[in-house]
């Protein structure tokens, strides 16, 4: 049984239907990615899972319990943690206070202290700057802080929204390596939304392609990387053919 099971959810922004019946699974311990262009609805899916937005239809099951429509704090308590797009750290709190806020719903002081050390181990930069205001960190450091903060609630499932946004390629590599390490060491399952398709497909085991609120393709990441359409439209691999010149004429297979 998958850890997270989403079936046919529909989510609206006011009158606009942003998610038009999406179903996906996240197996325990795995990394799953959702690819898609701007405005495809990736962020909305994550927000719907973490309870910030409520789906109009459909079901979300986590650990066999249905969680759609629950308040966000209940969902955090059940073990889902969200690293929001654009980092959203508490700028005027110190690094340490930010991390402690991640553990807001926990009351085991000794273990929280232990987890703080674990985070400083994963992100040594944060360990050097515990008393510094989060707003004064660089973009990459803020991203690390946002990930560390989300991990402080000891989630079973981590939702990552564009972790590479605005980062240099080297920093991006570094962040993705840490994500991989956390996944293998802590056994945290992950659902990653990414625009950098190559990164995401290398990291994840299973991938979904989202277009305009619908899942148009799903497969293991290995297969997806071989897929002609993915290659052309998401990985930017150019094939030697006339097709390249008449790219606008070609229809994707799934349309």
């Amino acid at each position: 049984m998958p850890l997270l099971k989403i079936r046919n959810i529909e989510t609206y922004y006011g009158p606009i239907m942003a998610i038009k019946g999406v179903s996906l699974d996240v197996e325990e311990g795995s990394i799953v990615t959702i690819l898609g262009a701007n405005g495809a609805g990736k962020t909305t899916i994550l927000k719907t899972i973490s309870g910030v937005m409520d789906p109009e239809k459909g079901s979300i099951e986590f650990l066999g319990q249905s969680i759609e429509g629950l308040a966000p704090d209940k969902i955090v308590r059940m073990g889902i943690s969200h690293v929001p797009e654009g980092r959203e750290v508490f700028e005027e709190l110190t690094v340490k206070e930010n991390l402690i806020m991640g553990a807001y719903l926990r009351n085991d002081r000794a273990e929280i202290r232990q987890d703080l050390k674990t985070m400083y181990n994963y992100f040594p930069v944060l360990g050097e700057r515990t008393a510094q205001q989060a707003g004064s960190l660089s973009g990459g450091e803020q991203q690390m802080l946002a990930i560390g903060r989300a991990l402080m609630s000891r989630p079973k499932l981590l939702l990552l929204d564009e972790p590479s946004l605005g980062l240099s390629p080297i920093l991006m590599q570094e962040i993705f390596q840490i994500i991989k390490r956390i996944n293998s060491e802590q056994k945290t399952s992950m659902l990653i939304v990414e625009q950098n398709a190559l990164m995401a497909l290398t990291l994840a085991q299973h991938g979904y392609v989202l277009e305009l609120g619908r899942i148009v393709l799903e497969d293991s990441c290995k297969e997806l990387m071989e897929n002609e359409d993915i290659k052309e439209f998401y990985l930017g691999v150019k094939e030697e053919s006339i097709r390249g010149t008449k790219r606008w004429k070609r229809k994707k297979k799934w349309r």
């Binding site: 966000p72 943690s81 508490f90 005027e92 709190l93 206070e97 991640g102 807001y104 903060r149």
Partner: protein
């Protein structure tokens, strides 16, 4: 020596009134930081607190310290009820509606107080352990009344500082005022934070009422002092907790000095002149900063 003594006393009484402006300004700032609403009823919260303290002392013959404690508790409950009954149903509505509601509360509280038997529109006062006691140091004479206001305010601010710096709930309240969405992602209940914000603001109001009553009297219109705490809050930048206190002190001392050494009438405009001067030089207030966002 006499002149020095006089100036010193004027400044000290200015500081003590400034403390009260500071407490009310703190109430404004707390609610504004958390909810972006300017609570025009903050002065009236102080008025209600003063009436409660007056009743406890005059009708129930409780001691000053018991009254202080009980009033704090009653005001805390009062703040909680206001948030739950009046403001929570309006979550998600335009800020403007919320501000209008606080103006409505201001008028409502005044009317209700004037209708309650034994309260009404008369002027009252109550004695405190500090009434008519003086502290002498050589030739400098200071009244305990003013000194007690300063000391109690300092203690309250210290308590607030400890709460916001070292307790999980306090840090969560700061976090929520900085980034509400991220706070939701952490599992922080924003409703509880708002509720606590109103509780603290009501306590600050009640405390200001108890401290102010011995030097001005308890009256239905005493909440008008909120109009003077407003420039104090703006002076401090409206986002800054130390700023509110410093703003209050500046306004209090200026007013006191203007009242003593300038022609009649200057006392009431002094605060605003200072405000305009400071805003010309620092448009964000003394402790305010330009809002920036890292991309």
């Amino acid at each position: 020596m006499n002149l020095l003594n006089e100036i010193l006393q004027t400044i000290l009484s200015g500081i003590s009134v400034g403390c009260i402006y500071g407490l009310i300004a703190l109430g404004f700032v707390m609610i504004f930081k958390a909810t972006e609403v300017i609570n025009f009823a903050q002065g009236e919260l102080m008025m209600v607190g003063a009436f409660i303290a007056f009743s406890l002392i005059s009708f129930f013959h409780l001691s000053y310290w018991t009254t202080l404690l009980l009033t704090t508790l009653i005001m805390a409950l009062f703040g909680m009820i206001i948030e739950r009954v009046v403001l929570r149903p309006l979550v998600g509505q335009p800020i403007f509606s919320l501000v209008m509601v606080t103006i409505g509360m201001m008028i409502f509280f005044k009317s209700v107080v004037s209708m309650i038997p034994f309260w009404g529109t008369d002027t009252y006062g109550f004695g405190t352990p500090f009434t008519e006691k003086l502290v002498r140091y050589n030739e400098i004479i200071v009244s305990w009344e003013h000194l007690s206001i300063i000391i109690l305010t300092l203690l309250l601010i210290l308590a607030l500082f400890i709460f916001f710096r070292f307790t999980k709930m306090g840090v969560a309240m700061r976090a929520t005022s900085q980034n509400q969405l991220a706070a939701v992602y952490m599992g922080i209940s924003v409703n509880r934070v708002f509720s606590l914000t109103w509780v603290i603001s009501a306590i600050l109001g009640g405390f200001a009422g108890i401290l102010l009553s011995p030097i001005t009297f308890v009256h239905m219109n005493m909440g008008l002092i909120g109009l003077k705490a407003m420039p104090a809050a703006i002076l401090g930048g409206f986002y800054s907790i130390p700023g509110a206190v410093v703003g209050g002190l500046i306004i209090g001392v200026t007013e006191s000095l203007a009242g003593a050494y300038l022609p009649i009438g200057w006392k009431d405009v002094a605060a605003w002149i200072i405000l305009i001067l400071v805003l010309v030089i620092r448009p964000y207030g003394l402790f305010g900063t330009e809002l920036k966002k890292k991309v």
